[in-house]
């Protein structure tokens, strides 16, 4: 029994009714013809894989069939908030205060789109709580 709050149905529903749909808040380049191949490839294929807070899109596929966003902790799998499409999350990786209140560990950044950047090596180590 695992319940997720659907912001459209406005109640907790069984996890079976939902399906994850990948990273949220992706913005399509306004003018695709003018962006470089690298930028377009980043937009199309590369996704964040952070340790800690992650914003994801989910769909309430067997209920109202609407997409919405979830802020989820990838280390504890805890769902911190759900919010509608078009809204901004109130809990982010940069939001240190909320993080401390929630007792949640997060890694800073977590971009894996650029290959082996030196700062990415930190992501493979335990983050001090």
């Amino acid at each position: 029994m695992f319940h997720i709050f659907c912001p459209y149905c406005q109640e907790y529903r069984e996890e079976e009714e939902f399906h994850p749909s990948g990273q949220a808040h992706l913005v399509r380049p306004a003018d695709p013809a003018s962006v470089s191949d690298d930028e377009w490839g980043d937009y199309l294929f590369f996704r964040d894989n952070p340790r800690g807070i992650h914003h994801e899109m989910w769909v309430h596929r067997l209920g109202c069939r609407k997409f919405f966003n979830i802020t989820r902790d990838t280390t504890s799998y805890e769902i911190l908030e759900t919010y509608r499409m078009g809204e901004q999350p109130s809990i982010t990786a940069a939001n240190a205060e909320v993080r401390r209140e929630q007792g949640v560990q997060t890694a800073d950044g977590g971009w894996q789109t650029v290959g082996a950047q030196p700062e990415n090596s930190r992501l493979n180590e335990e983050t001090p709580s």
Partner: protein, 226 residues
């Protein structure tokens, strides 16, 4: 569908009556036709069982999509009931034979008695005019099963993941949820009755599941012949 009486055009949308006329020589078959052939579904009536499942075939199912305010105005004028504004709402008219259900923030399911939906669709289209909306007749794709009897709730408790207790599913609530390995729309129009809106291609599966799950209580699935 080539009969003149079954086609119409309101605005720029072509509509047609999915009920063939009596002279069309077509026998309508409900989604439970195969179950009936298999002997899983009986005629209406018979010895009282603890759970009674009755199919209501050939009802008019319309999906309305659009803005709540424009649709509410039109539905109020044509059906005499207001669109359920709150999520998961289910509203019935005074007779109890017509219902409007909240499906998602911009989508409602209207179920009316057989044969009324074509007229209703045309009247709604005429009234809505150029507003941004969509009406789809989905009556051919789904059917309605009514569950009643004292053990109906217990049957649902082992079939759906939703909380079907009084506090989870009070009268006037309708949810889409998981039923066995498929999905249904679960509705609670009155105190004594639950309703399942099942997909046509899953109707036989749902009936088999219900018969199996209801075996311990005694259950009969009934459907009036066309």
């Amino acid at each position: 569908m080539s009969e003149a009486h079954s086609e119409a055009s309101v605005g720029n949308a072509a509509t047609f009556d999915t009920h063939p006329g009596a002279d069309a020589g077509v026998t309508p078959e409900s989604p439970l036709q195969w179950s009936r052939v298999q002997g899983h579904v009986t005629e209406e009536g018979g010895a009282a069982e603890q759970i009674r499942v009755v199919e209501r075939p050939f009802l008019g199912h319309l999906v309305l999509r659009g803005g709540a305010i424009t649709l509410d105005e039109a539905v109020r004028a044509e059906l005499g009931v207001s669109l359920p504004g709150k999520p998961l709402g289910l509203v019935l008219d005074a007779e109890g034979s017509r219902s409007v259900q909240w499906v998602s923030p911009d989508e409602w399911l209207v179920i009316v008695p057989a044969g009324e939906e074509f007229e209703l669709e045309n009247r709604l289209r005429a009234r809505l005019g150029d507003a941004h909306f969509a009406i789809v007749n989905v009556g051919g794709g789904q059917t309605l099963l009514e569950l009643s009897g004292e053990k109906a709730r217990e049957l649902l408790m082992k079939s759906v993941v939703y909380d079907v207790h009084e506090h989870g599913l009070p009268v006037g609530k309708a949810v889409g949820t998981v039923f066995a390995k498929t999905s249904v729309v679960l509705r609670r129009p009155t105190e004594a009755r639950f309703e399942l809106v099942v997909r046509r291609s899953f109707a036989d599966y749902c009936v088999r599941w219900l018969r199996d799950a209801g075996r311990e209580y005694g259950l009969r699935v009934e459907s009036a012949s066309p």
